[in-house]
């Protein structure tokens, strides 16, 4: 190999590396990250983006060079060199993706594990687990069967460690085409989600009719919400603001309209919100919002504005969603 060409190769290599490193950090493709977990996911994405940019430039570069340098001259009927293979080269380019893939797999596993993807996340806290272990065999199996208390929950989120504060629990019910949030501790029922900053939140989610998916883009988490089976998400928000909550699983015609917001606020602001809601619920003046006494449609009607549901949507609910009401009861 002659010197100028290896110098060109070297320069090209350096240039590609620099561009990839820069673009991997500055692609600006993701929305703000509002939790520590989201930052971890972004780091992973940035790494993948760096590698992908490098490979992209390398291979597209090769293609462009081929297009320019190796086009056939008019009238040239000869063939190119008969090169059918090159074992060392083939070993190298098998090894490169293999190594990259191993690095990415291990790194992704790390992050997934940190987010609590592999945690048992016992629903109902640790007492529940003890209850199970000491419980009668049959009871235990029944409990497993109806999956409400299954020990390995489906979803993402760390189980609370020793000495951690109890997480704020919220029951999430997904139904065509709305999200309904019930705070079991205070009895608040709401069409949008309010949580305090820096406190772990545990969402226990179930669907009333079809499969929905609970997606928080700014938190990089998403989990299907299923009828007949509970799933969970748990996270700590570390950035105040109002973020979209989106249904990401096709759930019917107004699937696109099934969204609301999640407000992350300071603990004081959150307490105040809880106060207001509790007063509104108990105060005689306002509509008595005892959900179990209203039909689904009436109930939704009262939230329609909050949730930005299209009027149409309300008439779209022909079937009584399975256990919506029971899920609403604190």
């Amino acid at each position: 190999m002659n010197i100028p060409s290896s110098i060109t190769t070297l320069i090209a290599g350096i240039a590609i590396t620099l561009v990839s490193l820069w673009y991997g950090q500055n692609h600006g493709l993701l929305p703000v990250a509002a939790s520590a977990d989201a930052n971890d996911v972004d780091d992973l994405f940035n790494l993948m983006m760096t590698i992908a940019t490098g490979l992209f430039l390398l291979i597209e570069g090769v293609l462009v060079i081929c297009l320019i340098r190796f086009r056939r001259k008019k009238g040239d009927m000869t063939d190119g060199p008969s090169i059918e293979g090159n074992i060392p080269l083939e070993i190298v380019w098998t090894a490169i993706p293999t190594v990259i893939v191993f690095i990415l797999a291990i790194y992704s596993f790390e992050i997934y594990n940190n987010m609590g993807g592999l945690d048992p996340m016992v629903s109902g806290g640790s007492q529940m687990a003890m209850h199970h272990h000491g419980g009668h065999k049959i009871d235990n199996m029944v409990a497993m069967g109806d999956t409400n208390n299954s020990q390995v929950a489906i979803g993402i989120g760390k189980s609370p460690g020793v000495g951690d504060d109890e997480p704020l629990k919220v029951n999430v019910n997904g139904l065509q085409y709305a999200w309904i949030f019930t705070y079991p501790e205070t009895g608040i029922v709401s069409g949008d989600l309010h949580i305090p900053k820096d406190r772990r939140v545990l969402l226990n989610m179930q669907a009333a009719d079809v499969i929905h998916a609970f997606w928080l883009p700014e938190f990089r988490i998403k989990q299907d919400v299923m009828p007949g089976q509970e799933s969970q998400l748990s996270f700590v928000a570390n950035r105040e603001g109002t973020y979209p909550v989106i249904c990401a699983e096709l759930c019917g015609s107004y699937h696109g309209g099934m969204k609301t917001t999640m407000t992350v606020e300071s603990p004081e602001a959150y307490d105040q919100w809880v106060q207001e809601r509790t007063v509104a619920m108990t105060g005689g003046e306002s509509v008595a919002l005892n959900p179990s006494e209203l039909s689904d449609t009436d109930f939704l009607q009262s939230y329609a504005e909050d949730m930005g549901i299209i009027e149409n949507t309300l008439q779209q609910i022909p079937h009584a969603p399975m256990n919506m009401m029971s899920a609403l009861k604190p």
Binding site: K73, G80, N86, T94, S108, Q223, G256
Partner: protein
Amino acid sequence: MSDATIHHGGDRKWTDYFTFCTDHKVIGIQYLVTSFLFYFVGGALAEVVRTELATPDPDFVSPEVYNQLFTMHGTIMIFLWIVPAGAAFANYLIPLMIGADDMAFPRLNAVAFWMQPVGGILLISSFFVGAPQAGWTSYPPLSLISGKWGEELWILCLLILGTASILGAINFVTTIFKMRIPDMDIHSMPLFCWAMLATSALILLSTPVLAAALILLSFDLMAGTAFFNPTGGGDPIVYQHLFWFYSHPAVYIMVLPFFGVISEVLPVHSRKPIFGYRAIAYSGLAISFLGLIVWAHHMFTSGTPGWLRMFFMATTMLVAVPTGIKIFSWCATLWGGKLQLNAALLFAIGFLSSFLMGGLTGVMLAAAPFDIHVHDTYFVVGHFHYVLFGGSVFALFSGVYHWYPKVTGKMYDEIWGKIHFVMTFVGFNMTFLPMHYLGMQGMNRRIALYDPQYQGINQICTWGSYILALSTLPFLVSMALGLIKGKVAGRNPWRALTLEWQTTSPPEIENFEEMPVLWAGPYEYGIDTESEDGDEDIEDMLTEVANVG
């Protein structure tokens, strides 16, 4: 069709194409033309989808209709366009490439083809009873409550087409193993045949599982059983496992034949042997094996426990290795060659450059923590169109241009072919590249109404899709001009070495006048023929060549 008149170079009456003809070449064309008709239907639906998405409100079509549109678009594109188009190439080419006079089971072959229009018409007729609207995945319980008859027709269509593809696969495998000319061993077989072996293996292993899932779904729908219906105690997640056990491999069923096409086109038009014959052949098999154990990566956010997600993350990422081997080998085939930049090769290079994108975003999606963020968003829509459009459709067009002279005996119109390429390439990237950004930012898929902040980018996509739609016009022009006043192609206008180029264009009814001889490996370009003995045949062959485009 019994009075075969050999000296006519395999001329067929046009009416033969509307009969239960058992000639594999006729069946190949029947498959290809039928699938193109469905491509235009599927494409038209996509244009309505994109037009609706030009504005944030569901104003062009109602949300219900929107859901029907993308469900039908996806189903048609997959089951009536890409999969049968792969079968079209295989039917036409495999017997010719291995020197056989027909497929192993010609009548079975015709039966499999005629199931396509039946399935297709059934599916499209569902528009009259309310088309299915639960997406091409048709997850219960949504698919059980959103319109009974459309859904049932959808199931019937898929069962019919699935059966057809099983019949086809049996035929391909038997033909490849039993009907090669005696001196062609399995390692001197063209790579397209290898690709079809890998594809057929996948079809045979996975399609029956889809059939099972669909039959159970049909019971739930029509007979009120509760296999998947949670109201009766069924488990919708089981359906997802069964569905993806077929439908992930189906992605490879869609792309592997076209990997085969690319391996045929590149060496001929860059005048170099394919780089790493065995690596390409075996990596196809590796992809099809790995393809069987990655299905749950479609269910990272669904009802799957964490450890399962990790297992599928690892297996999915591994697919990058054989895929990488293929891409590198194809690039090395081009490198240093003498590239004839005609429409066939341009589409092949377009394939490489866009499939690369699909592959890179594919690895990102394999990483569960990232997939959880973008699952069911426009990032995924962008990704799989790079794989299916970039990886299949580009290669398909490349193959159509490459074998056009063989099939018609004429040369296509090069200028219009190039215009076709440029418009497709520009329109394609303009439509699908911005979608990645939309998805990451928070736009979920399968929605008729979206947040107004995404309007600008959606309009770019929509305009791109119009360019893409228009790009089919120059294609049709190029094909038609070729037929009307194209130059006569001769046997082997590309001076290619695989066997199909040894017979007349179009081939004799019985394919070859006499049994073809294997006078070179399929890709032995650039070998210094003069210094060797006994290779005068090649020289003769190559100088006999009529005209080169």
